[in-house]
C-alpha cells in the first residue's frame, strides 16, 4: 500500500476537527437537567432545573451554578409578567416517588438574583394536579403569556398534555377554569405565540438514558390556545402528531425542554438540554441555539460552525473583501473549441499570489463579485476566554491563512488590521436570524456604546450602523468557498 501523507494528515487531524465543535457548547459548568426557559433578571441570565437550584450567567455563554429556587421538584419554568418572575414546578409525578400523582405549584419573586435584597419567593400554591390514576401526570409545566392571558401546559407520556389558564396578576388558577387535553405521547412541553398561531412544543422519545436518550423536540400549532393542535401533516397532537423542531446532532443526544429566548431584531434562540453531551462525559447540559422560522413553523438552528467562508451580502450578493488590487489568474490563452492536448486542472490562486502587493497596515474592506480569491476568504474562529453572548462565544474574523483581522473603527466604519490583538473592536458577535441569514456585530466600537452591526450601506460598501431586521442591508450569508 502506498503511503499518502495528505491522507495520513487528514486521518490524524480528523478527530481534532470533530472535537473542535465543542467550542460552540456553552462555557463554564452548564450541567443541568430539565432547564427552565432562560430568562434575564437584573442583567444576568438564569435557568432552573430538576431538584432545585440552577445556573447563572453574566453573558448567556458562560454558566455557573448558583441560582436559587426552593421547593425542589421537577422541571420548572419561569416567566416575567410586570415586576414578577413567576416560577412553576412540579412536586411528585414523573413515574417516580409518588408515581403519577403530582401537583404543579407556582411561586413568584421580584428578582432572581439571590444576592438582591428584594429576593424573596412568595408561594402561590397548587395550580394543577393529577391524582395518580387519571390519564395525566402533572409535571413539566410551561408558561405562555399572550394577548393578556397566562397559559400553562403540563403533562408527560402518562396520558394527556393539558392546558390551564392562570391569572397573570396572581399566578393562581383562573376561577372556574377547566383543564383541556391538547396532546398525547409528549412531555416537556412549551407554548409559543406568533402571528396569530399558538404553538405547542414538546418532546417525543425517551429521556434520562444518557447517550441512548431519544428525546427530540416536536411541534404542533393552533389558532386557539386550547387547540386543537395539529402538525404539518394535519395530524392532531391528540393522535400523536408533531413536526420535528430539533433532534440529536454532532456530539449531542436527546434534546428536550425547549424554551424561547426572543432577543429582538429578528433574533430568536431556544434554550434546552442535551440528555448527553459526549464532550462532557455524556452528562446532561444546557445549550442555547438559534431558532429559525420556515413557512410559519419553528425550526431548530445549529450552532455557528467555525471555518473559512465567503461572507456574502444579502443585499447585493457582493462578497466582503479586502479593498486591494485584483490579481488576474494566468491560465493562458485558450480557444473555444475542444482541447487539442491533455486537459489539466488549474490551481486556485494562492495567498502569496494575491497578497504580494497588499499594504502592510490597515486595509479597507468593500463588497465585490465573488471570485474565490484569497482576499475574499475569511476564517471565522471562536476566541477563548473573552466571554460571549447568549449561546455562543465571540469570534475573530481574519483573512484565511493570515492574522489580518476585521475590526470596527472609531469612526463607525469597518476595516482590517494587520494582526488580531483580541481588542473588543476585533471581536464579533454572529447571530443567525429567524430567516437563516446572519447578523454580524462588533463586541464594541471605539468611542461608542450604541450597538451596531455590519451593514451594506451601498451595493459595494459596508459600514457599521444600527441593525434593521426589516432590511436586507444588515443580513449576511456564510458560504463555503
Amino acid at each position: 500500500m502506498k503511503f499518502d501523507p495528505l491522507a495520513a494528515a487528514i486521518l490524524i487531524l480528523l478527530p481534532l476537527c470533530v472535537c473542535s465543535r465543542a467550542f460552540a457548547q456553552l462555557d463554564g459548568e452548564p450541567y443541568i437537567h430539565d432547564p427552565s426557559t432562560v430568562i434575564q433578571s437584573d442583567g444576568k441570565y438564569y435557568t432552573f432545573g430538576t431538584g432545585g437550584g440552577g445556573l447563572i450567567s453574566d453573558d448567556g455563554y458562560t454558566w455557573h451554578s448558583g441560582a436559587v429556587r426552593p421547593g425542589g421538584g421537577v422541571a420548572p419554568d419561569v416567566i416575567k409578567i410586570g415586576d414578577r418572575y413567576y416560577v412553576a414546578y412540579a412536586v411528585g409525578g414523573g413515574g417516580m416517588s409518588g408515581g403519577h400523582a403530582s401537583n404543579v405549584k407556582v411561586m413568584w419573586n421580584k428578582t432572581l438574583d439571590p444576592k438582591s435584597p428584594n429576593f424573596e419567593f412568595h408561594d402561590v400554591g397548587v395550580v394543577a394536579s393529577s391524582d395518580g390514576v387519571e390519564d395525566c401526570d402533572a409535571i413539566d409545566p410551561a408558561f405562555l403569556y399572550a394577548n393578556g392571558h397566562l397559559w400553562l401546559s403540563y403533562g408527560t407520556y402518562f396520558g394527556y398534555i393539558r392546558i390551564v389558564e392562570l391569572d397573570p396578576r396572581t399566578g393562581n388558577r383562573m376561577a372556574g377554569n377547566k383543564a383541556v387535553n391538547v396532546a398525547i405521547d409528549m412531555e416537556a412541553t412549551d407554548l409559543l405565540y406568533r402571528d396569530g398561531w399558538y404553538y405547542l412544543l414538546g418532546t417525543h422519545g425517551t429521556c434520562c438514558d444518557g447517550a441512548n436518550s431519544t428525546y427530540n423536540i416536536r411541534v404542533g400549532r393552533s389558532r386557539n390556545p386550547t387547540g386543537p393542535y395539529v402538525d404539518n401533516m394535519g395530524i392532531p397532537l391528540l393522535k400523536g402528531g408533531g413536526k420535528l423542531v430539533a433532534a440529536a446532532s454532532g456530539r449531542h443526544m436527546g434534546l428536550g425542554h425547549f424554551g424561547l429566548m426572543d432577543l429582538g431584531d429578528g433574533v430568536q434562540k431556544f434554550s434546552m438540554h442535551y440528555e448527553a453531551d459526549l464532550d462532557r462525559g455524556g452528562r446532561s447540559v444546557l445549550d442555547i441555539r438559534p431558532l429559525l422560522w420556515k413557512d410559519d413553523w419553528p425550526v431548530g438552528g445549529d450552532d455557528f460552525e467555525p471555518g473559512t467562508y465567503e461572507i456574502q451580502s444579502e443585499r447585493s450578493g457582493g462578497a466582503l473583501e479586502l479593498a486591494v488590487d485584483f490579481v488576474r489568474m494566468d491560465t493562458g490563452r485558450r480557444g473555444w473549441g475542444p482541447p487539442t492536448g491533455p486537459v489539466t486542472p488549474v490551481a486556485n490562486q494562492t495567498l502569496a499570489q494575491d497578497s504580494a502587493k497588499w499594504p502592510a497596515g490597515n486595509i479597507a474592506v468593500d463588497l465585490s463579485d465573488y471570485m474565490v480569491r484569497p482576499h475574499q476568504l475569511w476564517t471565522v474562529a471562536p476566541v477563548p476566554n473573552v466571554g460571549g453572548y447568549p449561546g455562543a462565544p465571540y469570534f475573530k474574523i481574519v483573512i484565511a491563512g493570515t492574522d489580518r483581522a476585521l475590526a470596527a473603527t472609531a469612526e463607525g466604519e469597518v476595516e482590517t488590521v494587520p494582526a488580531f490583538t483580541g481588542a473588543p473592536e476585533q471581536l464579533w458577535r454572529i447571530d443567525e436570524l429567524i430567516d437563516g441569514a446572519y447578523r454580524i456585530m462588533p463586541k464594541a466600537m471605539p468611542n461608542s456604546a450604541a450597538p451596531v452591526a455590519l451593514i451594506a450601506v451601498g451595493a459595494s460598501t459596508p459600514t457599521l450602523t444600527k441593525f434593521d431586521p426589516k432590511s436586507d442591508k444588515g443580513k449576511w450569508n456564510f458560504r463555503k468557498p
Partner: protein, 266 residues
C-alpha cells in the same frame, strides 16, 4: 421528564398489592413484585431526591374498571370510526414479559418475543369472549370489547382488570369484513411500544424500538383485503409506561377506508 425505568419499579410493585384469585395468578404477581423490587434497587441511584405529591386516596382506592375506555362488544357488526380506526377487538389479558426499559425493543428482540409461542394456536385462534388460554401455567381470558376512543388503551384494559400494566405483552384479534375485494390498500398502525401485525396470517406491519403511539406511524406494503372475512391479529409489547395502539386501513392516497365492518368470533 418521566423516568420510565423507575416508574416501572413503582408500577410493578404497586400492581403486586392487588393480588387476587388463583394460585397461579398469585405466583405471577409475586414474580412481578420481585422484579419490581429489583428494579427499584437498580434505579434508585439514578434518581434525585424529590418531594412526593400525596396520592389521591380516593382515586387510588376507587374500584377499578375498564370504563370509560371500553364497552362490551355487541353482536352487531361495528363500522370503523369517522377516521377509519378499528375499535372492536378481542383482547387477551396481559402476558407478563418484564422489561425495565423500552429501548430493548430492537427488531431482533421483538421478532423473537412476539413470534414465540405463548399459547396453543396463537396465530390461528379465533377466540370468543371469555375463552381462556394458558400461558406459562397461568390462565388468561379473552375479552370482546369496543374501544371508546380511536386508540385502544390496553394499559387501561389491564389496569381496569387489576392486571399488570408494565412489562407486559398484549394480544389482539379482530375480524374485518369487507363488502368487496380491495386491492392496493395499506394497514396503518401506531403503537406504544413495539408491535407486530398479521393480516390473514401474513406479517404486514412491524413497529420496533421505544415507540410513542402516532397515528399512521408505520404503513404496510400494498395489501389486498378479501371479500368477506379477514383476520387481523396484533401483539403489543411494552415495558414501563402507557400501552395503546391505533389501527386503520388506508387507500393509496392515505385516505381512510371506512366501508368495512368489524365482528368478533362467536
Amino acid at each position: 421528564m418521566e423516568k420510565v425505568a423507575l416508574s416501572s419499579c413503582i408500577e410493578l410493585s404497586s400492581r403486586a398489592k392487588v393480588l387476587k384469585m388463583t394460585k397461579m395468578k398469585m405466583f405471577r404477581k409475586l414474580v412481578v413484585l420481585g422484579i419490581g423490587v429489583l428494579a427499584v434497587q437498580a434505579c434508585v441511584a439514578q434518581v434525585p431526591d424529590r418531594p412526593k405529591a400525596p396520592q389521591d386516596k380516593a382515586a387510588a382506592a376507587a374500584p377499578r374498571t375498564i370504563a370509560p375506555y371500553f364497552k362490551p362488544a355487541t353482536s352487531q357488526p361495528k363500522a370503523p370510526d369517522a377516521d377509519g380506526f378499528l375499535q372492536r377487538w378481542m383482547l387477551l389479558e396481559p402476558i407478563v414479559k418484564p422489561n425495565r426499559t423500552n429501548t430493548v425493543f430492537t427488531g431482533t428482540y421483538v421478532r423473537s418475543a412476539l413470534n414465540a409461542e405463548y399459547f396453543p394456536d396463537q396465530f390461528t385462534l379465533l377466540p370468543h369472549n371469555g375463552q381462556t388460554v394458558t400461558v406459562a401455567g397461568q390462565e388468561l381470558a379473552w375479552h370482546a370489547l369496543d374501544s371508546t376512543g380511536f386508540n385502544v388503551k390496553v394499559f387501561r384494559f389491564a389496569y381496569g382488570l387489576n392486571e399488570p400494566t408494565y412489562g407486559v405483552l398484549f394480544w389482539a384479534v379482530t375480524i374485518v369484513n369487507s363488502p368487496s375485494e380491495k386491492k392496493n390498500i395499506r394497514l396503518a398502525v401506531g403503537s406504544n411500544s413495539a408491535s407486530m401485525w398479521w393480516l390473514n396470517g401474513e406479517d404486514v406491519a412491524d413497529l420496533f424500538d421505544d415507540r410513542r403511539m402516532v397515528m399512521d406511524d408505520v404503513i404496510s406494503k400494498r395489501l389486498t383485503l378479501k371479500k368477506g372475512q379477514n383476520v387481523l391479529r396484533g401483539a403489543v409489547i411494552n415495558g414501563p409506561g402507557l400501552s395503546d395502539f391505533c389501527v386503520r386501513f388506508v387507500d393509496e392516497d392515505g385516505n381512510p377506508i371506512k366501508d368495512l365492518s368489524l365482528s368478533l368470533p362467536q
